[in-house]
Symmetry: C2
Subunit: 359 residues, 2 copies
Amino acid sequence: MAAQPKWFPPGADCDANQAELFGRDLEEHFELPERLADKSASLVEAVNDFHYAMLNDHERNEFYRRALAEQIQPSDIVLEIGTGSGLLAMLAAKAGARHVYAIEANRHMAQLAQHIISVNGLADRITVINALSTEVTVEHLGGQRADALVSEILGTLLLGESALQYISDARERLLKPDARIIPAGGRQLISLVESEDIKSITSVQSWGDLDLRAFNVLQDTVSLVFTKQYGFRFSSTKHKMIVSKATVADVDFHTDGEGALPLEMTVELTAECDGRVDAVLTYWEAYDSREKTSVMSTEPSATEGNFARDMQWGQAIQLVEEATETGPQPFHVKKGDKLELVVRFSEDSAVMQFSLQRA
Amino acid sequence: MAAQPKWFPPGADCDANQAELFGRDLEEHFELPERLADKSASLVEAVNDFHYAMLNDHERNEFYRRALAEQIQPSDIVLEIGTGSGLLAMLAAKAGARHVYAIEANRHMAQLAQHIISVNGLADRITVINALSTEVTVEHLGGQRADALVSEILGTLLLGESALQYISDARERLLKPDARIIPAGGRQLISLVESEDIKSITSVQSWGDLDLRAFNVLQDTVSLVFTKQYGFRFSSTKHKMIVSKATVADVDFHTDGEGALPLEMTVELTAECDGRVDAVLTYWEAYDSREKTSVMSTEPSATEGNFARDMQWGQAIQLVEEATETGPQPFHVKKGDKLELVVRFSEDSAVMQFSLQRA
């Protein structure tokens, strides 16, 4: 069995940390609808934080509809990890699968998926399994391995929801050797950006004749923060690309598992114009198949007209500093300057950290 | 002594919950600059979350500069609660105060304020006191009560940072009876809004021929959520006002203290146009003086050209439902419809909850 994932889906029944009920923060004289009173807080918070947005990301849905329509055969047993509302399982059934097994870790969500599948007349084609995928065995799948796996357990970071662990575990234990995996893989990308908007909320210079620069000593230049946590859409900020696009990791879900990525690596970059590097911007691409016929991307240009995608995935940002004795200073570059970006991956490959230096 | 506040400022040394050090989530092979390694996580996170944005909200700074210039006399002892970078204390000194006592609850922030005050040549005019304001006594102020109080402890909700408790406590123990208080008071306001953007990330209807409406049973219609947590700027969304502006609380910092607001009240409203009420939007106004000569506002129209204000305060939103047996449904209204908004305040008046019903 493959390494255990460190990230658990919201409300997973096997995770004692997620057992707290919704409404725990509401005072007694506040209203709490009965429909929410028995649900776990992490489930309700996740659904309202990004599930609705995800379901309304029509380009995401269409990427999966097309990939399933092209790759699923009438004889196929399809497995889905993390079905949520049941949407991808229903698309797999509509693509013609013989049967779909849809795994969902939260019991309320599993019941709801079952209900939505019934409403849409697909109950005889789809079986919902209430478990974490790492607990599912071939017996749950009627005793045979599946022909194809579909999942959408991609976070703001490509591997932020432990997709590498969940998919490689399912591949080794629950899929036929030549099974198709959708998405087939992905690429974690970065840009180096200059942005007055970002600078205006992450550092301070002066106001009137008052010098406030010493306050920048508290600037956090080591955490990768989701644009959503900052509270803005990167696609709607004014920005300039100092380095427009570079790859930091290529992942193939047909072969890779834990340990596929190094703990540390260095990417050589060249400044494409004069400017100030305010931040490393991260985003990703995922591919329908190993042929990469169709791409789903979280690059800002791909989310510009897609409010839902900005609100469900967005991008992540890490501020960049030129370290000095008195604290972080702006990192100025000239066109053609050689730079080195040190990329550190967490042990489980889910998180990254960057350090920019001159080559 | 007045009731104890429930909200503690980030990194307050007296609050054991805030003692965790920054970097606790970073793996060992990740980088952590020395300047951040000894700081509390909540302090660094707050500074990066909203302090930089706050310091770059130039309209906010100008509101205070003008109020202090108009109200501070050369003989005045001025007290500031929560000085942070020291900016408002420095503006009070520049407005001519005889002496300023600046209270700051975190020891690292207090040292930094002291340093910034020195850099700006105001060290002999300002004394930084490292304590929570409720722990400060008249002895800290050289044995006499202050002539004026200035503070900016306003959250996304007017009273969300326990301003009512901190200011009334200081007023009763540390100020002269006729002391000026800046801001003098404020007003918590609401609108009822229709917004396709908000609807698109907080509910789902269908995709293709698949009916997903049952998923709305998990919609959170009882929590007041900051726009910043949603990840968008309300001022940049497409929206329509069904009720444009109504007051839910008026606060006078010269007289009010804990218990000034009711636990529950009902506001009568009339729909100003046909539409669908998707959410209650909350925002506030604060006044320089009891004459309300100058206003600082978080109304979306007041933040449109002020990215920093959207990123530091923004607004808060609570979704609205028309409750049915199968779950929440959209709340449609016609122009002229009479509505009742039930407003519930938490025991400490810091938080609100709303229920909309037909009159």
